[in-house]
Amino acid sequence: MTEASLLNISLVILFLPLLGFAALIFLGKKIPGSHWLETFIMFSALCLSIYVGFGKLSYYVGKDLISQLTWISLPNVPLLGNINMDLGIKIDNLTAIMLFVVTLISFLVHLFSIEYMKGDSRYSRYYAYLGIFTFSMLGIVLTHNILMMYIFWELVGLSSYLLIGFWFEKKSASDASKKAFLVNRVGDTGMFIGIMILFTNYHTFTFDTIYAQIAAGHLPFNSPAWLTAAGILIFMGAVGKSAQFPLHVWLPDAMEGPTPVSALIHAATMVAAGVYLVARIFVMLTADAMLTIAIIGMVTSFIAATIALTQNDIKKVLAYSTVSQLGYMIMAMGVGAYQYAFFHLVTHAFFKACLFLGSGSVIHAMHHEQDIRKMGGLRKKLPITYATFLTATLAISGVPFTSGFLSKDGLLAGTYAFGLLTGHWIIPAVAFLVALMTAFYMFRLVIITFHGTPRDEHKYDHAHESPFVMALPLVVLATLSVFFWYGTNPMNPSSGWFLSKWVKTPATVVPQQQRFDFMKTEVKEAGAVEETKTAEAAETETVTHSEHYMHAMHQAHYPAMGLSIILGGLGILLAFAMYQWKKIDADKLAEKLGPLYRFSLNKWYIDELYGATFIGGTLALSRALAWFDSKVVDGIVNGTATLTRGLSNIGGLFDKYIVDGMVNGAAYLSGFIGLFFRRFQTGKVQTYVVFVVFSVIILLFIFRPFGF
């Protein structure tokens, strides 16, 4: 289990899906069991990544494995010397974990799809797309430089485009895919500018090299402001991919794609890539950048949660919950709760995937009915689905003994501590509020879907539990959303191996005065050192968080936990009250809060807003410009042409004289000169003679010989 072997194997993992893609796209129709092939490929990839993860986390836990090769080299550039652009992979703990997560979920989704997508006309194409997606996602996970990150970023965008628009016959689907790609492009553009800033200053794309230079005190354009800018701009990429406000609009629409796809891409992996990116650039984030990120995350989670409250499409609800959870993670990153953010990313990946696949099986059972108001009482029909779905719901609501509880609680604690340290109390406040809402709408969903009495008898009767290949993934994922995978202590995540051993907050490289106070490294006086921390410090020789941050975390831990449990419970209670026991009439309530309700139901009218402003504006502008171009520019630049037309309309000789006319206005002059000369050609020879005689005389007078 040498480094080289691990690196090579992870390369194999990376390229296996691409292989599958190539195979399926070109001869998918010819291979009968092509989907099995692809699934098998994913399975082997999974095994390999388990192997890699195991090796990495058990043998090289504190060490980053890197291998790279020069892709483009620009030798002896004037003033800059050599510029090299490398391709390379880097395996650190994050990578190892992500490898596992991605391959696992991808595999499960493959498995799930075998039944779900059966009989689709473009069956093999579907698997091909899944393959290219997995490839790009793994690329993001593995890469060690930001250019490659960007490349795979775009490729992921492409595959998401293809998968969302998989049923492109539906206008809505092709619209959604286009929207997704474009909205992502917005973020990516920002990200690219960020990359440009880095490259311009460091002439490389490799993270470590860049960070090393920053640590050495070489700031972009020698100003911390640019560093902040770089951070925020790159973060914009994450805003796009992780559907953060204001670019979150694409994700709900993306639900037009097949449900397994939603599970894989739009719940578990791709959207998480944004968080992963932030984790990657975490060390170069200045305080301002982090605050921005935190706020954006906060806003996102809040908006999404509020919207999720009122949606009736099962997938829409899940979509918005995803958005809000992603907002959580981003927020956590922003407040410096790096570990918990990533932790939540992993746990969320599992239970959200579970939820989506569950919804998939529901939809499958209901013959592609997605409106929860037409469901109900499915509990009996779909026991497995129900069980798994419920587990995942508990997890997302942060009920104890679930993985969700662990990560979410830590995350909330992080925000709480942040409040303590910086006084930005708004962030924790919103965070907890969202926790409440989450619990509420998730249980609303469960209750309306599975409990009560069926509303659509006909569909209900035909509903049936999903076959094994669909059930299996649900079960796996459900089990994965239970606490013991992550740590022995169901109450305190940080003691679990996941956080204590694998995921460490990396040392920031930002100059001191640009950090939050609590992230400043200060000389530690011997007394106040906790043993746990020293142990950590001993393991990773970097100190990221100051003493009193740790202190604050401990201080925040239990209040946060308690608060979250209470709020979660409250939310669940509320849900039951309203939809199970009908104590509170939901519709009445809705009427009472009419405006608010509609506001939430219509997703804060954000789509309409964008439609009116950006999209409408651009299209209008483009139309105006096109007119301007054809009329004005054309008109002015070859105005002579129009001039020609105007002048030579006499006799409608436009075509005849266009050649004379168009070159330039002189053409007219020339024409008239011509006419003038033509006058002389009267055809009367005697007139000619007169001319000759006169011209002789005139010539004599002009060229009077010298001395005349």
Binding site: Q686, V690, F694, I697
Partner: protein, 168 residues
């Protein structure tokens, strides 16, 4: 005012007056005939200039040849009886202007220039001999050339004038 002068002015008068008639007469026949006098007058001037042979040739070729040709032309292209015979004139003004200017310029030049003038003696006998010698020695080339020129003129005139037979 010796006899020479008188004769000169006489011929000059004849020449110019008749020439004037030529270019102004409304009746083409008149002008044709007055052209005769012009030629005659010019011939006279030649004599005064001691160019007897030229004078003779002038009379023979011009009067005997060209003038007859012209008269033929007149006859062939006009019916004496028709009104056609009176031909109009056109662009008088520019013509007068041009002609006057030209004459003015020429006279100015001719008068204003001091030509190298050493009066040649009248030839003792007719110039025919001398001319003949010169023609066949110094100017033999041109002499031959004129032969060809006349041939060409002959052929050309024939080509143009002869009736086009509808062949080919």
């Amino acid at each position: 005012m010796n006899i020479y002068d008188i004769v000169f002015y006489l011929f000059a008068a004849i020449t110019l007056v008749s020439a004037f008639v030529v270019v102004t007469a409304r009746n083409i026949v008149y002008s044709a005939f007055s052209l005769l006098f012009t030629f005659f007058g010019v011939a006279g001037l030649y004599v005064l200039l001691g160019a007897d042979f030229i004078a003779v040739v002038q009379l023979m070729v011009y009067v005997g040849g060209i003038l007859v040709l012209i008269l033929f032309g007149v006859m062939l292209t006009n019916k004496i009886t028709s009104i056609q015979i009176k031909t109009g004139t056109l662009q008088i003004v520019p013509a007068i202007l041009g002609a006057a200017l030209m004459a003015g310029v020429l006279i100015k030049i001719f008068a204003g220039t001091n030509w190298k003038s050493q009066l040649a003696q009248y030839p003792a006998q007719t110039t025919a001999y001398a001319l003949g010698r010169v023609l066949l020695t110094d100017y033999v080339l041109i002499f031959e050339l004129l032969g060809i020129l006349l041939l060409i003129a002959l052929i050309g005139a024939a080509t143009i004038a002869r009736k086009e037979e509808k062949a080919g």
